[in-house]
């Protein structure tokens, strides 16, 4: 979400000591471009995942007689696929958030659009700063 946060930061209401123009056209162009880039990166992640999977299968078949190597290949392949899946989920969430912001910016008037952008920005920042909580201990 860093890219979206960077895009929205100039539109944050920070009480500048002078009039500030809301440049809707620029923001729309930037959001559309960011969405396209995220989509491309997402499909690259899909390809990478498939590649990792195919390589893992290839090495697994090639070393099927050696259980030690086979275990390492499957663990490595599984880890790679998992990392790619994690990246894909993040990219997809970023793309959805960017597309939604684009739709809101296009349909709302200046005041409402600025408010929405600030709310979205605040939510994204909170999301970024959230640290994984400690595992809960279930008590009997």
């Amino acid at each position: 979400m860093t890219k979206l946060v960077n895009l929205l930061t100039p539109y944050e209401v920070v009480g500048e000591l002078g009039a500030k123009q809301f440049d809707r056209d620029y923001l729309r162009t930037a959001l559309a471009s960011a969405s396209r880039q995220t989509a491309v990166t997402f499909w690259l992640a899909v390809l990478a995942q498939m590649g990792v999977f195919v390589l893992a299968v290839f090495f697994a078949v090639a070393n099927s007689s050696d259980p030690k190597v086979l275990g390492a290949v499957l663990a490595g392949g599984g880890g790679g696929v998992g990392a790619c899946a994690f990246a894909m989920v993040r990219l997809w969430r970023e793309k959805v958030a960017t597309d939604l912001t684009f739709a809101l910016v296009s349909s709302l008037d200046d005041g409402a659009a600025t408010t929405v952008l600030n709310v979205v920005l605040e939510a994204l920042r909170k999301q970024q700063s959230v640290r994984p909580s400690a595992p809960r201990v279930r008590r009997a």
């Binding site: 209401v13 009480g15 000591l17 002078g18 009039a19 500030k20 005041g111 600025t114």
Partner: protein, 312 residues
């Protein structure tokens, strides 16, 4: 007997061409804040009849939020850093004016060598409402033989577009180049600034077409808005103090002050200014001055350079 002892009226260091480093202490400074700093002030400034732009703009940008949330945000972004800077300045012996008026500012200019002003700059410009309220703007622009009008005609080819698009096009044209020759008028130009060009062109339009009712840009103080020319009139020609203008595009006012008082030092900027950054920097500048080794403008430059280095 040496040469210097024979001089009945020794020349000042400045006359000899020597540079004497002046030192400012926090007690030489005054800080004026002309923005609302309490909830009552903010709420009253947000009312339609208040004729105050700063609070209303802040409110308008967050129009969809309830007023209490707007205030909470304003308090966090503007009020808290402002009060922190006030506490630092007061503890260091600087003179403080909150809700500063024109008379406060004049008094501060007389009382202290360095005057820092945190205020809102009311920028002029065409708006859709202005164009709708004065339809003669479009007709005059299309028919007037005045040089300014023909320059505007060239800049905006389609005068049948919406009022909003027309306003945007006209404002862009005003920032582009000087519409009238000789507009520089011996002024101290700061890095060919588009906001300065805009201001010159706007003044030109106001003179040429008084019937359009174009509003004047100016600095918003607690008792009204003052144009740059009126602000500059407060300075005697031999004024040698330092003006620290912490507002958006302060080159416009800064240039007017330099023209009225050429020996003054003016700390100004070409960019929009965020109060929380500026006020934090102001506190740091006072801490630097307290060491007794800096002149105010020098401290500001040194601090900005350090911040830029760190940002890289």
């Amino acid at each position: 007997m040496n040469q210097t002892n024979r001089e009945p009226y020794p020349l000042s260091a400045e006359s000899r061409g020597l540079v004497v480093k002046q030192v400012h202490l926090p007690a030489d400074c005054a800080l004026l804040l002309a923005i609302p700093l309490t909830m009552d002030e903010f709420y009253s400034d947000c009312e339609l009849g208040s004729r105050k732009e700063y609070a209303r703009l802040f409110r308008a940008q967050l129009a969809s939020l309830p007023m209490s949330q707007v205030w909470t945000r304003y308090e966090r972004i503007v009020v808290t850093p402002a009060l922190h800077a006030v506490r630092i300045a007061r503890s260091r012996g600087a003179l403080i004016y909150t809700r500063a008026s024109v008379s406060d500012w004049r008094e501060a200019v007389r009382a202290r060598q360095v005057v820092s002003l945190v205020a809102h700059w009311r920028a002029a410009g065409f708006t859709a409402e202005l164009i709708r309220a004065a339809p003669e703007i479009v007709t005059d622009m299309a028919t007037s033989p005045a040089r300014v009008a023909s320059a505007m005609r060239r800049a905006v080819t389609d005068t049948t577009s919406s009022a909003s698009a027309l306003a945007t096009g006209l404002n862009k044209a005003l920032r582009g180049s000087l519409l009238s020759p000789g507009g520089q008028d011996g002024a101290v130009w700061v890095a060919n600034d588009p906001e300065q060009r805009f201001e010159k062109n706007w003044q030109c339009l106001r003179q040429e077409f008084p019937g359009w009712g174009l509003p004047e840009s100016g600095m918003e103080l607690s008792d009204g808005s003052l144009p740059a020319s009126s602000m500059a009139d407060a300075f005697p020609g031999d004024y040698t103090g330092t003006q620290d203008l912490r507002m958006c595009h302060s080159v416009i006012l800064g240039e007017a002050i330099k023209r009225a008082a050429p020996r003054s030092r003016v700390v100004m900027n070409q960019r929009p200014v965020r109060p929380h950054t500026q006020l934090a920097l102001y506190g740091a500048v006072l801490e630097m001055l307290a060491t007794g080794r800096y002149e105010f403008a020098e401290a500001v430059l040194a601090l900005n350079a350090a911040v830029m280095r760190r940002a890289r």
